[in-house]
Amino acid sequence: MRPGIVAGILALSISVFQAGLAQAGQPVTPTFDNQTGTSGLSSRYQGDWEFMVGGGVSAFDCNADGYPDLLLPGGTDKAKFYRNDSTRGGKLTFSEQTSGLEVDNLLGSYPIDIDSDGIMDLVLLRLGENIVMRGKGACQFERANEAWNFDGGKAWSASFAATWEKGNNWPTLAVGNYIDPEQDMLPWGSCTDNWLHRPEQAPGIESKRFAAPKPLKPSFCALSMLFTDWNRSGTPSLRVSNDREYYKGGREQMWHIPPGGEPVLYSEEEGWKYLRIWGMGIASYDLDFDGYPEYFLTSMADNKLQALATLPKDGKGPATYKDVAFAHGATAHRPYTGDDWHPSTAWHTQFEDVNNDGRVDLFIAKGNVAEMPDFAKRDPNNLLVQNDEGNFIEMGLAANVASMNISRGAALTDFNLDGKVDLVVSNRWKDAEIWENTTARAGNWIEFRLENPGANRDAIGSWIEVKNAGHVMRREITIGGGHAGGALGWHHFGVGADKDVEFRVIWPDGREGDWQTVAANGFYVVSPGKAAESWTPSR
């Protein structure tokens, strides 16, 4: 071989190698197209002091077409329900429809199939009475407080979580309540009790109604709650993120919720650390593939990313978390673009893989409480994209989602069923915004919907595991977290270059489904003991 050719090949090899190096740690930049103007959405989160929190969005399919529909809160205005008319891969298109969900004083909502009839119900969190709405099909809902013996109270509610405790056919709902709005001269220290709504009957006996709510004392102005099996013991605990602005003697909390038993707070003796933040939102995901979820907690200025200090064994171990936000570039403490350098205020948060590279990314809705001059007034939402080293890189501006509106709630879900996670965000005093994910170089993907026969139709409390790039991605199926709203339906995984996907489901009762291999870039309905069924959108 001539020296010139050798030199050329060598130079080419070096440049390819260098290009590879340059890309290491630099994930694909996602791109989003703001389609608010053409989407059909027109909804604002209105109101003054009593609506400084809330604004949560819920996304769910209520007409069995597979496309997630939307409920947007109006605060002092009526909430608006939007039917998803999008077509596969098409522009995001919605139509406002009367649904029965059009209530005022709504701070947020969460979808949940309470009566396990296969039709989605909703829990509406309000300033005043909370309402459970039974789904009747075709996106019509009716009040069910009386039928299900649900005491809606009259508090200021902005957080929610749900689980099916072992042996129960009826869910357990946790409602997080905020300050007493009547304490207007000295509202601090007036946090009202969170409530645990359990089934009327003891575990093992069929229930069709809720028992009288049980106050969770002490309560410290919860703004996000999540039932999560943090130690993989098989029994979820209840994490509660509290707003330190209003509690006295308070802290972040986690409750033992033994099935049918007395709730007990995790103690310092169990490793639970004394942490006080302006807790506003919770997102969870197993980021480091160790089998246990990490938790992202939104706050003001620095946010927290918590990882277990010691991995449990057989479901037992200290409930001690270390903050790794700084180390992983996830503090998201101030605006990353614009001219406002003040600290940020963070609300809804959610892990989803927006570029389908097999690493979930982190969205954070940002916005001043109202007019707090020491915090950023122009506070862009964050899109922190995770690289293959587990670090987060801010790409909100490049991705075109750096909205400067005063944001609160959000939902990241695949609205047009093209395999890419889209985004909707609610704003105080401004129209909600929606973006289609248009990432051209996105990887392959797969989406699952779980169908559990009998009670707990959506298999809340199960884990979906997907093999990819030499590790196992795990998603815990939960209802709760975020800020005042959540999505329930398809569960999305990016799988990078993989064309075939090996996955399994660990069901809420602990049964481990078989590993199955299916083709990437498709939708699958999974039930226990059955092969996954491929599903295709009808439009």
Binding site: W49, M185, P187, D302, F326, H333, W341, H342, A370, D374
Partner: protein, 442 residues
């Protein structure tokens, strides 16, 4: 004791004056809130807003306590021939508006108006809940203090209270401490890279820079300047085992590792973290109000206490910060993790600024000096500041005993070396003496 006797004599005079007041205004005051209660109600809100206003670090809180205290003192002094104005005594305060001679004023309305005006300005950065609470308080308090009074008295008293507050506010603007951005953390600051100097102790991004590095240059109130009571240098830095500095660090290390339940209680009682408590200066203001409530203190005592206590803690932080940034000393946690035990943890959160001296020690020394001068050297009291936070009341035999406990709590918390504690207290006594020397009675 002399002070107490004098207080009782003054109280008798005030009772007579209060009996005469209806004659002056032509209206019964029986159902209206007394001026002391007006102030107590407002100060409850002040203590909450200090906790809930994000730029209120302890030095900033102390500054506001001083200006608000001087405001209410001067507003009351304008109607009390026995109170000596602080104009001409406090640095830069040359004159305060006077009341019109021969015209009727109501002290409750005057003080209510002064507090409302002052708080609106000093807490302009508080959040929507603070603003909401302020508006509700202002509305309800105005109705309570003015009910049954002639309109002209209400207007004259309101105008006067606002005029005094405005004058104090204008004075405050030139002290160098009025504009606090980014919660007091500079966006740029060159850390001293040499061993022994302060390094960040927190994983919070904002706190990678030290808090308020120029606060020591802020205009003082009663003492001549920030460096007036500057401390000698700290113990010479050394990482050698057996050196004086190492031994000092070893004491912190061993103390935290062997804390008794009582020591933990003391550390947490005086922790007084910003945004989670009324801060260290607010703790002393809370102590003062608990005492004044128990003693049913008269108005001159109340305004004198609020003014001088505020001045003492404000000067305390300025003097302390002057020394902190003069010496820029490393915190125990940084040293111990580097030299003794990388896994060691403090009990309390280490504050994000240099170690020497201890801010709580300095300002507690100054506060104790002032309170002892008003209520007596051996005045025993209960401190229920943190009861709402589920931290029980503690009893103290004297203000000095409380200050000493506040100081040593920083050793138990693992956030200060002994020298910073003991010398900080001495610095506080030095600073407090300037405030004690202020003449408030004619």
């Amino acid at each position: 004791m002399l002070n107490l006797l004098w207080m009782r004599a003054r109280a008798a005079v005030i009772i007579v004056l209060l009996m005469l007041t209806p004659v002056m205004t032509g209206v019964s005051h029986a159902e209206r809130m007394p001026p002391q209660k007006v102030l107590q109600t407002w100060y409850r809100l002040v203590l909450e807003l200090v906790r809930h206003t994000s730029n209120y670090s302890p030095p900033v809180a102390a500054r506001s306590f001083a200006y608000i205290g001087v405001t209410v003192y001067e507003a009351a002094a304008g109607g009390d021939a026995h109170l000596q104005t602080l104009a001409g005594q406090l640095n830069g305060l040359t004159a305060v508006p006077a009341r019109e001679k021969g015209m009727a004023y109501d002290d409750g309305v005057v003080l209510n108006a002064a507090m409302a005006y002052s708080m609106k300005e000093f807490f302009s950065h508080t959040g929507p809940t603070g603003q909401h609470a302020f508006a509700a308080t202002e509305k309800k308090m105005h109705a309570k203090v003015s009910d049954g009074l002639p309109d002209d008295v209400v207007k004259r008293s309101t105008d006067y209270g606002q005029a005094v507050a405005k004058a104090i506010l204008e004075w405050s603007k030139s002290d160098g401490g009025a504009d606090v951005q980014n919660m007091g953390f500079p966006l740029k600051y060159d850390l001293n890279p040499k061993p022994g100097h302060w390094v960040p102790t927190s994983l919070i991004r904002q706190q990678q820079m030290p808090l308020l590095p120029n606060w020591g240059k802020t205009r003082t109130f009663a003492m001549p300047k920030g460096s007036t009571c500057r401390l000698p240098p700290p113990i010479e830095y050394s990482e050698e085992k057996g050196s004086a500095f190492y031994k000092e660090a070893e004491e912190v290390y061993n103390t935290v590792k062997t804390l008794t339940p009582e020591q933990k209680t003391i550390a947490r009682f005086w922790s007084d973290d910003p945004m989670l408590s009324p801060t260290p200066p607010g703790h002393w203001v809370s102590v003062a109000w608990e005492i004044m409530d128990k003693e049913k203190s008269d108005l001159p005592t109340v305004v004198d206490t609020m003014a001088r206590l505020g001045v003492a803690v404000a000067d305390g932080f300025i003097g302390c910060w002057d020394s902190k940034y003069e010496y820029d000393l490393i915190r125990p946690v940084s040293y111990i993790k580097k030299v003794i035990d990388p896994k060691w943890e403090t009990l309390l959160i280490t504050p994000p600024f240099p170690e020497y001296p201890s801010g709580h020690s300095t300002q507690s020394g100054a506060a104790a000096a002032v309170l002892a001068s008003i209520f007596g050297e051996n005045y025993a009291f209960d401190d229920s500041t943190h009861v709402a936070d589920n931290i029980p009341t503690r009893h103290f035999a004297s203000f000095k005993a409380a200050a000493e406990e506040a100081a040593i709590s920083r050793l138990y918390g693992g956030i200060h070396f002994r020298a910073a504690i003991e010398r900080g207290l001495q610095q506080g006594y030095c600073i407090g003496a300037y405030t004690v020397a202020l003449k408030t009675r004619k």
